[in-house]
Protein backbone atom coordinates (compact mmCIF):
# COMPACT_ATOMS: atom_id res chain seq x y z
CA UNK A 1 0.00 0.00 0.00
CA UNK A 2 2.99 2.25 0.63
CA UNK A 3 3.63 1.98 -3.08
CA UNK A 4 0.54 4.07 -3.73
CA UNK A 5 1.22 6.98 -1.44
CA UNK A 6 4.78 7.87 -2.28
CA UNK A 7 5.99 11.37 -1.63
CA UNK A 8 6.91 12.97 -4.91
CA UNK A 9 9.24 15.85 -5.53
CA UNK A 10 7.31 19.06 -5.54
CA UNK A 11 8.88 21.22 -8.19
CA UNK A 12 8.36 24.93 -7.99
CA UNK A 13 9.42 26.86 -11.02
CA UNK A 14 8.60 30.37 -9.93
CA UNK A 15 9.28 32.87 -12.69
CA UNK A 16 11.64 30.49 -14.50
CA UNK A 17 9.19 30.28 -17.35
CA UNK A 18 5.66 31.46 -17.45
CA UNK A 19 4.02 29.09 -19.85
CA UNK A 20 0.64 30.64 -20.33
CA UNK A 21 0.17 34.16 -21.46
CA UNK A 22 -3.21 35.56 -22.40
CA UNK A 23 -3.54 37.09 -25.86
CA UNK A 24 -6.71 39.04 -26.58
CA UNK A 25 -8.03 38.03 -30.00
CA UNK A 26 -11.16 40.10 -30.30
CA UNK A 27 -12.30 42.94 -28.16
CA UNK A 28 -15.65 44.62 -28.48
CA UNK A 29 -15.93 48.21 -29.77
CA UNK A 30 -17.93 49.40 -26.82
CA UNK A 31 -15.80 48.40 -23.86
CA UNK A 32 -15.71 50.63 -20.81
CA UNK A 33 -12.57 52.75 -20.82
CA UNK A 34 -10.67 52.91 -17.54
CA UNK A 35 -7.85 55.30 -16.63
CA UNK A 36 -5.37 53.69 -14.21
CA UNK A 37 -3.58 56.79 -12.92
CA UNK A 38 -0.11 56.01 -11.51
CA UNK A 39 -0.51 55.96 -7.73
CA UNK A 40 1.17 58.81 -5.90
CA UNK A 41 3.78 58.50 -3.16
CA UNK A 42 3.92 60.35 0.16
CA UNK A 43 7.15 62.35 0.23
CA UNK A 44 10.05 60.38 1.67
CA UNK A 45 9.08 57.03 0.13
CA UNK A 46 11.91 56.01 -2.14
CA UNK A 47 10.75 52.92 -4.05
CA UNK A 48 8.23 53.69 -6.77
CA UNK A 49 5.55 51.33 -5.48
CA UNK A 50 2.88 53.69 -6.78
CA UNK A 51 3.27 53.05 -10.50
CA UNK A 52 4.00 49.37 -9.88
CA UNK A 53 0.65 48.90 -8.13
CA UNK A 54 -1.42 50.86 -10.66
CA UNK A 55 0.32 49.03 -13.54
CA UNK A 56 -0.47 45.65 -11.92
CA UNK A 57 -4.10 46.65 -11.48
CA UNK A 58 -4.26 47.79 -15.10
CA UNK A 59 -2.78 44.45 -16.29
CA UNK A 60 -5.30 42.54 -14.20
CA UNK A 61 -8.29 44.51 -15.39
CA UNK A 62 -7.25 44.14 -19.04
CA UNK A 63 -6.41 40.43 -18.68
CA UNK A 64 -9.52 38.98 -20.34
CA UNK A 65 -10.24 41.85 -22.71
CA UNK A 66 -13.20 43.11 -20.71
CA UNK A 67 -12.01 46.73 -20.53
CA UNK A 68 -10.08 49.28 -22.51
CA UNK A 69 -7.41 51.47 -20.89
CA UNK A 70 -6.19 55.05 -21.31
CA UNK A 71 -2.42 55.16 -21.89
CA UNK A 72 -0.56 56.98 -19.10
CA UNK A 73 1.09 59.38 -21.58
CA UNK A 74 -2.32 60.49 -22.88
CA UNK A 75 -3.51 61.58 -19.42
CA UNK A 76 -3.94 65.32 -18.87
CA UNK A 77 -3.28 65.14 -15.12
CA UNK A 78 -1.99 62.67 -12.57
CA UNK A 79 -4.09 63.22 -9.44
CA UNK A 80 -3.44 61.05 -6.39
CA UNK A 81 -6.07 62.56 -4.12
CA UNK A 82 -9.66 63.64 -4.56
CA UNK A 83 -8.72 67.32 -4.17
CA UNK A 84 -6.72 67.22 -7.40
CA UNK A 85 -9.29 65.24 -9.35
CA UNK A 86 -11.24 67.02 -12.13
CA UNK A 87 -13.93 65.09 -14.03
CA UNK A 88 -13.48 67.21 -17.17
CA UNK A 89 -9.85 65.97 -17.60
CA UNK A 90 -11.23 62.47 -18.09
CA UNK A 91 -14.53 63.26 -19.78
CA UNK A 92 -12.74 64.88 -22.74
CA UNK A 93 -10.68 61.70 -23.24
CA UNK A 94 -13.75 59.46 -23.33
CA UNK A 95 -12.89 57.78 -20.04
CA UNK A 96 -15.69 55.95 -18.17
CA UNK A 97 -13.87 55.21 -14.91
CA UNK A 98 -10.72 56.62 -13.29
CA UNK A 99 -8.74 54.93 -10.56
CA UNK A 100 -6.41 57.04 -8.44
CA UNK A 101 -4.44 56.10 -5.36
CA UNK A 102 -1.53 56.86 -3.10
CA UNK A 103 1.07 55.02 -1.04
CA UNK A 104 0.77 56.92 2.26
CA UNK A 105 3.47 55.27 4.34
CA UNK A 106 5.91 52.42 4.65
CA UNK A 107 6.67 51.35 8.21
CA UNK A 108 9.81 49.72 9.62
CA UNK A 109 8.37 46.24 8.98
CA UNK A 110 7.92 47.05 5.30
CA UNK A 111 4.15 47.42 5.48
CA UNK A 112 2.62 49.80 2.99
CA UNK A 113 -0.50 51.83 3.64
CA UNK A 114 -2.32 52.48 0.39
CA UNK A 115 -5.50 54.43 -0.28
CA UNK A 116 -7.42 54.48 -3.55
CA UNK A 117 -10.58 55.90 -5.12
CA UNK A 118 -12.60 54.95 -8.19
CA UNK A 119 -14.67 57.56 -10.04
CA UNK A 120 -17.53 57.13 -12.47
CA UNK A 121 -16.85 59.93 -14.94
CA UNK A 122 -20.23 59.86 -16.70
CA UNK A 123 -22.16 60.08 -13.46
CA UNK A 124 -19.56 62.40 -11.88
CA UNK A 125 -19.41 60.53 -8.60
CA UNK A 126 -16.86 58.65 -6.54
CA UNK A 127 -18.12 55.06 -6.49
CA UNK A 128 -15.45 53.38 -4.38
CA UNK A 129 -12.95 54.40 -1.75
CA UNK A 130 -10.61 52.01 0.02
CA UNK A 131 -7.53 51.66 2.14
CA UNK A 132 -5.30 48.63 2.36
CA UNK A 133 -2.25 47.67 4.38
CA UNK A 134 0.11 45.04 3.02
CA UNK A 135 3.73 43.99 2.83
CA UNK A 136 6.10 45.45 0.26
CA UNK A 137 6.98 41.83 -0.58
CA UNK A 138 3.42 41.26 -1.70
CA UNK A 139 2.78 44.06 -4.20
CA UNK A 140 1.18 41.51 -6.57
CA UNK A 141 -1.23 40.34 -3.87
CA UNK A 142 -2.17 43.89 -2.84
CA UNK A 143 -2.77 44.77 -6.48
CA UNK A 144 -5.05 41.75 -6.89
CA UNK A 145 -7.17 42.74 -3.89
CA UNK A 146 -7.65 46.27 -5.24
CA UNK A 147 -8.31 44.87 -8.74
CA UNK A 148 -11.02 42.58 -7.36
CA UNK A 149 -12.71 45.48 -5.55
CA UNK A 150 -12.83 47.78 -8.54
CA UNK A 151 -13.89 44.92 -10.87
CA UNK A 152 -16.76 44.11 -8.49
CA UNK A 153 -17.77 47.76 -8.27
CA UNK A 154 -17.84 48.23 -12.05
CA UNK A 155 -19.32 44.88 -13.15
CA UNK A 156 -21.33 43.73 -10.15
CA UNK A 157 -19.53 40.35 -10.44
CA UNK A 158 -17.05 38.77 -8.04
CA UNK A 159 -13.43 39.59 -8.89
CA UNK A 160 -11.39 36.56 -9.95
CA UNK A 161 -7.86 37.93 -10.04
CA UNK A 162 -6.66 35.74 -7.17
CA UNK A 163 -7.96 32.52 -8.73
CA UNK A 164 -5.73 29.86 -10.27
CA UNK A 165 -5.78 27.53 -13.22
CA UNK A 166 -4.78 23.85 -13.31
CA UNK A 167 -3.85 22.30 -16.64
CA UNK A 168 -1.92 19.46 -18.24
CA UNK A 169 1.09 20.11 -20.46
CA UNK A 170 2.16 17.48 -22.95
CA UNK A 171 5.53 18.67 -24.25
CA UNK A 172 6.43 15.45 -26.13
CA UNK A 173 5.13 11.89 -26.45
CA UNK A 174 6.87 10.90 -23.22
CA UNK A 175 6.35 13.96 -21.01
CA UNK A 176 3.13 14.92 -19.27
CA UNK A 177 2.99 17.55 -16.53
CA UNK A 178 0.25 18.45 -14.08
CA UNK A 179 0.60 22.19 -13.55
CA UNK A 180 -1.07 25.06 -11.74
CA UNK A 181 -0.53 28.79 -12.12
CA UNK A 182 -2.10 32.07 -11.15
CA UNK A 183 -4.93 32.94 -13.52
CA UNK A 184 -2.62 35.41 -15.30
CA UNK A 185 -0.13 32.60 -16.01
CA UNK A 186 2.35 33.72 -13.36
CA UNK A 187 3.84 31.56 -10.60
CA UNK A 188 3.56 28.29 -12.46
CA UNK A 189 4.14 25.16 -10.40
CA UNK A 190 4.65 21.68 -11.80
CA UNK A 191 2.87 19.32 -9.42
CA UNK A 192 3.76 16.07 -11.10
CA UNK A 193 5.71 14.91 -14.17
CA UNK A 194 5.05 11.55 -15.78
CA UNK A 195 5.90 9.54 -18.88
CA UNK A 196 2.25 8.46 -19.09
CA UNK A 197 -0.85 10.58 -19.76
CA UNK A 198 -2.46 12.75 -17.06
CA UNK A 199 -6.06 13.96 -17.31
CA UNK A 200 -9.16 15.35 -15.55
CA UNK A 201 -7.76 17.72 -12.90
CA UNK A 202 -10.27 19.13 -10.40
CA UNK A 203 -9.70 21.51 -7.45
CA UNK A 204 -10.89 20.80 -3.94
CA UNK A 205 -13.22 23.58 -2.76
CA UNK A 206 -10.57 24.81 -0.28
CA UNK A 207 -7.99 24.91 -3.11
CA UNK A 208 -5.60 22.78 -1.06
CA UNK A 209 -5.77 19.63 -3.17
CA UNK A 210 -6.17 18.55 -6.77
CA UNK A 211 -7.67 15.26 -7.90
CA UNK A 212 -6.64 13.93 -11.30
CA UNK A 213 -6.22 10.79 -13.35
CA UNK A 214 -2.76 9.40 -14.09
CA UNK A 215 -1.79 6.39 -16.21
CA UNK A 216 1.62 6.02 -14.55
CA UNK A 217 0.90 2.41 -13.53
CA UNK A 218 -0.39 1.36 -16.93
CA UNK A 219 -4.09 2.12 -16.43
CA UNK A 220 -6.37 5.00 -15.45
CA UNK A 221 -6.01 5.67 -11.73
CA UNK A 222 -7.29 8.56 -9.61
CA UNK A 223 -4.84 10.48 -7.42
CA UNK A 224 -5.39 13.22 -4.86
CA UNK A 225 -2.39 15.50 -4.48
CA UNK A 226 -1.87 17.89 -1.59
CA UNK A 227 -0.58 21.19 -2.95
CA UNK A 228 1.30 22.17 0.20
CA UNK A 229 3.24 18.95 0.77
CA UNK A 230 3.17 17.57 -2.77
CA UNK A 231 2.07 14.21 -1.32
CA UNK A 232 -0.03 12.01 -3.61
CA UNK A 233 -2.55 9.34 -2.69
CA UNK A 234 -4.15 6.89 -5.05
CA UNK A 235 -7.82 6.08 -4.78
CA UNK A 236 -7.90 2.37 -5.36
CA UNK A 237 -11.24 1.21 -6.60
CA UNK A 238 -12.01 -2.30 -7.71
CA UNK A 239 -12.77 -1.53 -11.31
CA UNK A 240 -10.62 -1.63 -14.41
CA UNK A 241 -10.85 2.08 -15.11
CA UNK A 242 -11.22 4.81 -12.50
CA UNK A 243 -11.73 8.26 -13.89
CA UNK A 244 -13.36 11.70 -13.98
CA UNK A 245 -13.07 12.71 -10.28
CA UNK A 246 -14.92 15.87 -9.20
CA UNK A 247 -15.08 17.27 -5.66
CA UNK A 248 -18.41 17.77 -3.96
CA UNK A 249 -19.10 21.40 -2.95
CA UNK A 250 -18.45 20.49 0.72
CA UNK A 251 -15.13 18.82 -0.14
CA UNK A 252 -16.04 15.61 1.68
CA UNK A 253 -16.55 13.37 -1.30
CA UNK A 254 -15.78 12.90 -4.94
CA UNK A 255 -18.14 11.93 -7.70
CA UNK A 256 -16.17 9.64 -9.99
CA UNK A 257 -16.45 6.91 -12.56
CA UNK A 258 -15.58 3.30 -11.88
CA UNK A 259 -15.82 0.64 -14.50
CA UNK A 260 -16.49 -2.68 -12.81
CA UNK A 261 -15.91 -5.45 -15.34
CA UNK A 262 -16.11 -2.97 -18.17
CA UNK A 263 -19.25 -1.02 -17.41
CA UNK A 264 -18.55 2.58 -16.39
CA UNK A 265 -21.00 4.03 -13.87
CA UNK A 266 -21.07 7.09 -11.61
CA UNK A 267 -20.20 6.57 -7.94
CA UNK A 268 -19.83 8.79 -4.91
CA UNK A 269 -16.60 8.25 -2.99
CA UNK A 270 -16.43 9.42 0.58
CA UNK A 271 -12.91 10.67 1.27
CA UNK A 272 -12.93 9.99 5.04
CA UNK A 273 -14.24 6.45 5.16
CA UNK A 274 -13.15 5.46 1.64
CA UNK A 275 -16.53 4.03 0.70
CA UNK A 276 -18.04 3.91 -2.75
CA UNK A 277 -21.77 4.40 -3.24
CA UNK A 278 -23.25 3.56 -6.59
CA UNK A 279 -25.23 6.34 -8.24
CA UNK A 280 -25.96 5.00 -11.72
CA UNK A 281 -26.35 1.43 -12.89
CA UNK A 282 -26.73 1.11 -16.61
CA UNK A 283 -25.05 -1.03 -19.25
CA UNK A 284 -24.34 2.09 -21.34
CA UNK A 285 -21.41 4.43 -20.73
CA UNK A 286 -22.06 6.78 -17.80
CA UNK A 287 -19.24 9.26 -17.20
CA UNK A 288 -18.16 12.90 -16.75
CA UNK A 289 -20.05 13.65 -13.52
CA UNK A 290 -20.20 17.17 -12.05
CA UNK A 291 -22.07 18.58 -9.04
CA UNK A 292 -24.79 21.19 -9.06
CA UNK A 293 -23.77 24.20 -6.91
CA UNK A 294 -26.36 23.19 -4.25
CA UNK A 295 -24.85 19.65 -4.34
CA UNK A 296 -28.28 18.05 -4.75
CA UNK A 297 -27.79 16.90 -8.32
CA UNK A 298 -25.05 15.52 -10.52
CA UNK A 299 -24.90 16.10 -14.25
CA UNK A 300 -23.34 13.30 -16.31
CA UNK A 301 -22.86 12.01 -19.85
CA UNK A 302 -24.53 8.77 -20.88
CA UNK A 303 -24.84 6.98 -24.21
CA UNK A 304 -27.89 5.05 -22.96
CA UNK A 305 -29.99 6.61 -25.73
CA UNK A 306 -27.50 5.51 -28.40
CA UNK A 307 -25.43 8.70 -28.51
CA UNK A 308 -23.72 10.69 -25.74
CA UNK A 309 -26.26 13.02 -24.09
CA UNK A 310 -26.43 14.90 -20.80
CA UNK A 311 -28.54 13.76 -17.86
CA UNK A 312 -28.86 14.87 -14.27
CA UNK A 313 -29.50 12.66 -11.28
CA UNK A 314 -30.75 13.64 -7.85
CA UNK A 315 -28.18 12.19 -5.43
CA UNK A 316 -30.86 11.37 -2.81
CA UNK A 317 -33.88 10.21 -4.80
CA UNK A 318 -31.75 8.95 -7.72
CA UNK A 319 -34.38 10.35 -10.05
CA UNK A 320 -32.88 11.01 -13.48
CA UNK A 321 -33.72 13.59 -16.10
CA UNK A 322 -32.44 13.93 -19.65
CA UNK A 323 -31.13 17.47 -20.29
CA UNK A 324 -30.15 17.49 -23.99
CA UNK A 325 -31.91 16.21 -27.07
CA UNK A 326 -30.58 18.22 -30.00
CA UNK A 327 -27.69 16.70 -31.95
CA UNK A 328 -25.91 13.40 -31.50
CA UNK A 329 -23.10 14.52 -29.19
CA UNK A 330 -23.64 16.52 -25.99
CA UNK A 331 -21.08 15.67 -23.35
CA UNK A 332 -19.05 16.72 -20.29
CA UNK A 333 -21.61 19.07 -18.86
CA UNK A 334 -20.99 21.47 -15.98
CA UNK A 335 -23.42 23.74 -14.15
CA UNK A 336 -23.03 27.51 -14.10
CA UNK A 337 -22.33 28.87 -10.59
CA UNK A 338 -26.01 29.95 -10.34
CA UNK A 339 -27.15 26.40 -11.16
CA UNK A 340 -29.62 27.65 -13.78
CA UNK A 341 -27.66 26.89 -16.93
CA UNK A 342 -25.17 24.30 -18.11
CA UNK A 343 -22.18 24.41 -20.46
CA UNK A 344 -20.83 21.41 -22.34
CA UNK A 345 -19.25 20.06 -25.53
CA UNK A 346 -21.71 20.00 -28.42
CA UNK A 347 -20.96 17.96 -31.52
CA UNK A 348 -22.45 19.38 -34.67
CA UNK A 349 -21.68 18.21 -38.19
CA UNK A 350 -18.27 16.83 -37.19
CA UNK A 351 -17.35 19.93 -35.20
CA UNK A 352 -17.06 19.84 -31.44
CA UNK A 353 -17.74 23.19 -29.82
CA UNK A 354 -18.51 24.69 -26.44
CA UNK A 355 -22.20 25.36 -25.92
CA UNK A 356 -24.54 26.56 -23.18
CA UNK A 357 -28.15 25.83 -22.40
CA UNK A 358 -30.57 27.21 -19.86
CA UNK A 359 -32.09 24.33 -17.91
CA UNK A 360 -35.49 25.94 -18.40
CA UNK A 361 -35.16 26.07 -22.18
CA UNK A 362 -34.58 23.67 -25.04
CA UNK A 363 -32.33 26.00 -26.98
CA UNK A 364 -28.58 25.27 -27.25
CA UNK A 365 -26.28 28.23 -27.86
CA UNK A 366 -22.86 27.53 -29.37
CA UNK A 367 -20.12 29.81 -28.04
CA UNK A 368 -17.03 28.80 -29.99
CA UNK A 369 -16.22 28.45 -33.67
CA UNK A 370 -13.20 26.13 -33.80
CA UNK A 371 -13.78 22.42 -34.38
CA UNK A 372 -11.99 20.44 -31.66
CA UNK A 373 -13.07 22.29 -28.53
CA UNK A 374 -13.32 20.42 -25.25
CA UNK A 375 -12.87 20.48 -21.46
CA UNK A 376 -14.60 23.84 -20.75
CA UNK A 377 -14.15 25.35 -17.28
CA UNK A 378 -15.91 28.42 -15.92
CA UNK A 379 -14.67 31.32 -13.79
CA UNK A 380 -16.17 31.27 -10.28
CA UNK A 381 -18.10 34.46 -11.11
CA UNK A 382 -19.73 32.69 -14.08
CA UNK A 383 -18.54 35.23 -16.64
CA UNK A 384 -15.64 33.55 -18.46
CA UNK A 385 -15.13 30.10 -19.97
CA UNK A 386 -11.68 28.70 -20.72
CA UNK A 387 -11.54 25.56 -22.87
CA UNK A 388 -9.03 23.39 -24.69
CA UNK A 389 -8.73 23.41 -28.45
CA UNK A 390 -6.18 22.58 -31.13
CA UNK A 391 -4.37 24.39 -33.90
CA UNK A 392 -2.37 22.15 -36.22
CA UNK A 393 -0.54 19.69 -34.02
CA UNK A 394 -0.60 21.72 -30.82
CA UNK A 395 -3.27 22.07 -28.20
CA UNK A 396 -3.84 25.48 -26.64
CA UNK A 397 -6.42 27.06 -24.39
CA UNK A 398 -9.07 29.43 -25.64
CA UNK A 399 -11.27 31.73 -23.64
CA UNK A 400 -14.46 33.69 -24.06
CA UNK A 401 -16.41 36.09 -21.91
CA UNK A 402 -20.07 35.16 -21.77
CA UNK A 403 -21.21 38.72 -22.42
CA UNK A 404 -19.58 38.24 -25.84
CA UNK A 405 -17.23 41.18 -25.30
CA UNK A 406 -13.98 39.29 -25.62
CA UNK A 407 -12.22 36.22 -26.98
CA UNK A 408 -8.68 35.34 -25.96
CA UNK A 409 -6.18 32.50 -26.14
CA UNK A 410 -3.58 31.09 -23.79
CA UNK A 411 -0.96 29.46 -26.01
CA UNK A 412 1.83 27.34 -24.60
CA UNK A 413 5.43 28.00 -25.63
CA UNK A 414 6.21 24.38 -26.48
CA UNK A 415 4.02 21.31 -26.80
CA UNK A 416 0.35 21.18 -25.98
CA UNK A 417 -1.69 22.48 -23.09
CA UNK A 418 -5.07 20.94 -22.28
CA UNK A 419 -7.57 20.09 -19.53
CA UNK A 420 -7.94 23.53 -17.92
CA UNK A 421 -9.61 23.61 -14.50
CA UNK A 422 -10.45 26.97 -12.93
CA UNK A 423 -9.96 27.10 -9.16
CA UNK A 424 -12.75 28.19 -6.83
CA UNK A 425 -12.54 31.56 -5.06
CA UNK A 426 -10.89 31.69 -1.66
CA UNK A 427 -13.91 32.88 0.28
Amino acid sequence: MIRFSSLLFFLVSNSIFSILEIEILKGSDNLSKVAFVPFGLESGIEENYGSEISKNIENNMLLFGEFENLAVNEMLSYPSSENDFYYRDWKVLGVDYSLIGKVNSVNALGNLNISYSLFNINRRIKILEGEIVGSEDNIEGISKIISNRIYEEITGLRGIFDTKLAYVINSDAETYQMCISDIDGKNEQILFTSKAPIMSPDWSPDRKKIAYVSFENGLAEIFIQDLQSGERDSIQALGMTNSAPVWSPDGKSLALVVSFSGNPDIFLYSINNKRLIRLTNHYGIDTEPSWSPDSKKIIFTSDRSGSPQLYEINTKSKRKKRLTKDGNYNARGRYFPDGKSIFFVHGNDGNFQIATKKLSSRYIETLTSTSLDESPTISPNGNIIIYATKDGLNGYLGGITLDGKSRFSLPVKNGSVREPAWSPLLN
Binding site: L219, A220, L238, T241, G262, R278, P308, L372
Partner: protein, 154 residues
Protein backbone atom coordinates in the same frame (compact mmCIF):
# COMPACT_ATOMS: atom_id res chain seq x y z
CA UNK B 1 -50.16 8.04 20.29
CA UNK B 2 -46.88 9.88 20.15
CA UNK B 3 -44.48 7.13 21.29
CA UNK B 4 -46.13 4.75 18.86
CA UNK B 5 -45.75 7.29 16.09
CA UNK B 6 -42.03 7.62 16.82
CA UNK B 7 -41.66 3.83 16.95
CA UNK B 8 -43.32 3.45 13.56
CA UNK B 9 -41.13 6.21 12.16
CA UNK B 10 -38.02 4.47 13.52
CA UNK B 11 -39.13 1.19 11.98
CA UNK B 12 -39.72 2.83 8.65
CA UNK B 13 -36.29 4.45 8.79
CA UNK B 14 -34.67 1.13 9.59
CA UNK B 15 -36.43 -0.69 6.80
CA UNK B 16 -35.61 2.12 4.43
CA UNK B 17 -31.93 2.18 5.36
CA UNK B 18 -31.68 -1.61 4.96
CA UNK B 19 -33.24 -1.36 1.55
CA UNK B 20 -30.87 1.45 0.63
CA UNK B 21 -27.88 -0.68 1.63
CA UNK B 22 -28.96 -3.55 -0.57
CA UNK B 23 -29.94 -1.59 -3.63
CA UNK B 24 -26.93 0.74 -3.48
CA UNK B 25 -24.57 -2.24 -3.26
CA UNK B 26 -22.07 -0.25 -1.25
CA UNK B 27 -18.66 -1.49 -2.23
CA UNK B 28 -15.58 -1.41 -0.02
CA UNK B 29 -12.36 -0.15 -1.51
CA UNK B 30 -10.05 -2.94 -2.56
CA UNK B 31 -6.48 -2.84 -3.72
CA UNK B 32 -6.49 -4.98 -6.80
CA UNK B 33 -6.19 -3.42 -10.20
CA UNK B 34 -2.76 -1.79 -10.28
CA UNK B 35 -1.03 -4.74 -8.64
CA UNK B 36 -2.33 -6.87 -11.53
CA UNK B 37 -0.33 -4.87 -14.04
CA UNK B 38 3.13 -6.07 -12.92
CA UNK B 39 3.55 -8.14 -16.09
CA UNK B 40 4.24 -4.80 -17.82
CA UNK B 41 7.78 -4.97 -16.40
CA UNK B 42 8.47 -8.04 -18.58
CA UNK B 43 9.27 -8.04 -22.29
CA UNK B 44 6.49 -8.32 -24.84
CA UNK B 45 6.35 -11.46 -26.96
CA UNK B 46 7.38 -10.80 -30.56
CA UNK B 47 4.84 -11.60 -33.27
CA UNK B 48 4.73 -11.10 -37.03
CA UNK B 49 1.03 -10.38 -37.16
CA UNK B 50 -0.64 -7.02 -37.27
CA UNK B 51 -1.40 -6.23 -33.65
CA UNK B 52 -4.16 -3.65 -34.13
CA UNK B 53 -7.85 -3.65 -34.98
CA UNK B 54 -9.64 -0.46 -36.02
CA UNK B 55 -13.08 1.09 -35.37
CA UNK B 56 -15.58 3.62 -36.69
CA UNK B 57 -16.13 6.95 -34.90
CA UNK B 58 -18.05 6.53 -31.60
CA UNK B 59 -18.44 2.79 -32.36
CA UNK B 60 -17.01 -0.29 -30.71
CA UNK B 61 -18.20 -3.09 -33.01
CA UNK B 62 -15.80 -5.45 -34.82
CA UNK B 63 -16.29 -5.97 -38.54
CA UNK B 64 -15.57 -9.16 -40.50
CA UNK B 65 -12.05 -8.01 -41.37
CA UNK B 66 -11.18 -7.40 -37.71
CA UNK B 67 -12.55 -10.79 -36.78
CA UNK B 68 -10.51 -12.64 -39.41
CA UNK B 69 -7.39 -10.80 -38.25
CA UNK B 70 -8.05 -11.86 -34.68
CA UNK B 71 -8.64 -15.44 -35.83
CA UNK B 72 -5.18 -15.54 -37.44
CA UNK B 73 -3.78 -14.29 -34.18
CA UNK B 74 -5.48 -16.93 -32.03
CA UNK B 75 -2.71 -19.58 -31.86
CA UNK B 76 -0.21 -16.99 -30.57
CA UNK B 77 -2.75 -15.47 -28.21
CA UNK B 78 -3.47 -18.89 -26.76
CA UNK B 79 0.25 -19.47 -26.13
CA UNK B 80 0.75 -16.17 -24.30
CA UNK B 81 0.59 -15.91 -20.49
CA UNK B 82 -1.02 -12.47 -20.54
CA UNK B 83 -2.96 -10.74 -23.32
CA UNK B 84 -3.13 -6.95 -22.89
CA UNK B 85 -5.83 -5.18 -24.89
CA UNK B 86 -5.38 -1.41 -25.03
CA UNK B 87 -8.34 0.57 -26.34
CA UNK B 88 -7.81 3.96 -28.00
CA UNK B 89 -9.93 6.70 -29.59
CA UNK B 90 -9.43 9.63 -31.91
CA UNK B 91 -9.27 13.13 -30.50
CA UNK B 92 -12.85 14.11 -31.36
CA UNK B 93 -15.34 14.36 -28.54
CA UNK B 94 -14.62 14.57 -24.85
CA UNK B 95 -11.70 12.95 -23.06
CA UNK B 96 -13.50 11.07 -20.31
CA UNK B 97 -16.18 9.77 -22.65
CA UNK B 98 -13.41 8.58 -24.96
CA UNK B 99 -11.75 6.82 -22.04
CA UNK B 100 -14.94 4.80 -21.58
CA UNK B 101 -15.28 4.25 -25.32
CA UNK B 102 -11.71 2.91 -25.57
CA UNK B 103 -12.55 0.44 -22.83
CA UNK B 104 -15.68 -0.59 -24.74
CA UNK B 105 -13.55 -1.33 -27.80
CA UNK B 106 -11.04 -3.41 -25.86
CA UNK B 107 -13.92 -5.33 -24.23
CA UNK B 108 -15.38 -6.09 -27.64
CA UNK B 109 -12.07 -7.70 -28.62
CA UNK B 110 -11.92 -9.56 -25.30
CA UNK B 111 -15.42 -10.94 -25.76
CA UNK B 112 -14.54 -12.18 -29.25
CA UNK B 113 -11.37 -13.87 -27.98
CA UNK B 114 -13.24 -15.50 -25.11
CA UNK B 115 -15.83 -16.86 -27.51
CA UNK B 116 -12.94 -18.30 -29.52
CA UNK B 117 -11.65 -20.16 -26.50
CA UNK B 118 -9.09 -17.78 -24.96
CA UNK B 119 -9.21 -17.83 -21.16
CA UNK B 120 -10.72 -14.57 -19.92
CA UNK B 121 -8.49 -14.74 -16.85
CA UNK B 122 -5.34 -13.94 -18.79
CA UNK B 123 -6.83 -10.99 -20.67
CA UNK B 124 -6.15 -7.49 -19.32
CA UNK B 125 -8.38 -4.73 -20.65
CA UNK B 126 -7.08 -1.16 -20.48
CA UNK B 127 -8.21 2.10 -22.08
CA UNK B 128 -6.15 5.17 -22.86
CA UNK B 129 -9.06 7.01 -24.48
CA UNK B 130 -7.69 9.73 -26.75
CA UNK B 131 -4.55 10.22 -24.64
CA UNK B 132 -2.10 8.19 -26.76
CA UNK B 133 -2.77 8.84 -30.44
CA UNK B 134 -0.49 7.16 -33.00
CA UNK B 135 -0.87 10.18 -35.28
CA UNK B 136 -1.23 13.69 -33.94
CA UNK B 137 -2.64 15.31 -37.10
CA UNK B 138 -6.31 16.30 -37.19
CA UNK B 139 -7.66 14.61 -40.31
CA UNK B 140 -9.72 11.55 -41.27
CA UNK B 141 -6.64 9.41 -41.98
CA UNK B 142 -5.02 10.12 -38.62
CA UNK B 143 -8.32 9.67 -36.77
CA UNK B 144 -8.93 6.29 -38.45
CA UNK B 145 -5.48 5.07 -37.35
CA UNK B 146 -6.02 6.29 -33.81
CA UNK B 147 -9.36 4.49 -33.27
CA UNK B 148 -7.84 1.13 -32.40
CA UNK B 149 -7.28 -1.69 -29.98
CA UNK B 150 -3.64 -2.70 -29.59
CA UNK B 151 -2.94 -6.30 -28.67
CA UNK B 152 0.23 -7.09 -26.70
CA UNK B 153 1.24 -10.58 -25.62
CA UNK B 154 3.37 -11.34 -22.56
Amino acid sequence: MEPIGIFILAMICQVYSCAANVSDSVERMQYASVAGEEYLQEDKLETNLNDKVYFEFDKSTLDAEDKSLLEQYLPEIKKAKIVRLEGHCDERGTREYNLALGERRALEVRDFLVVKGVSGKKIRVVSFGEEKPLKSASNEKAWAENRRVEISLY
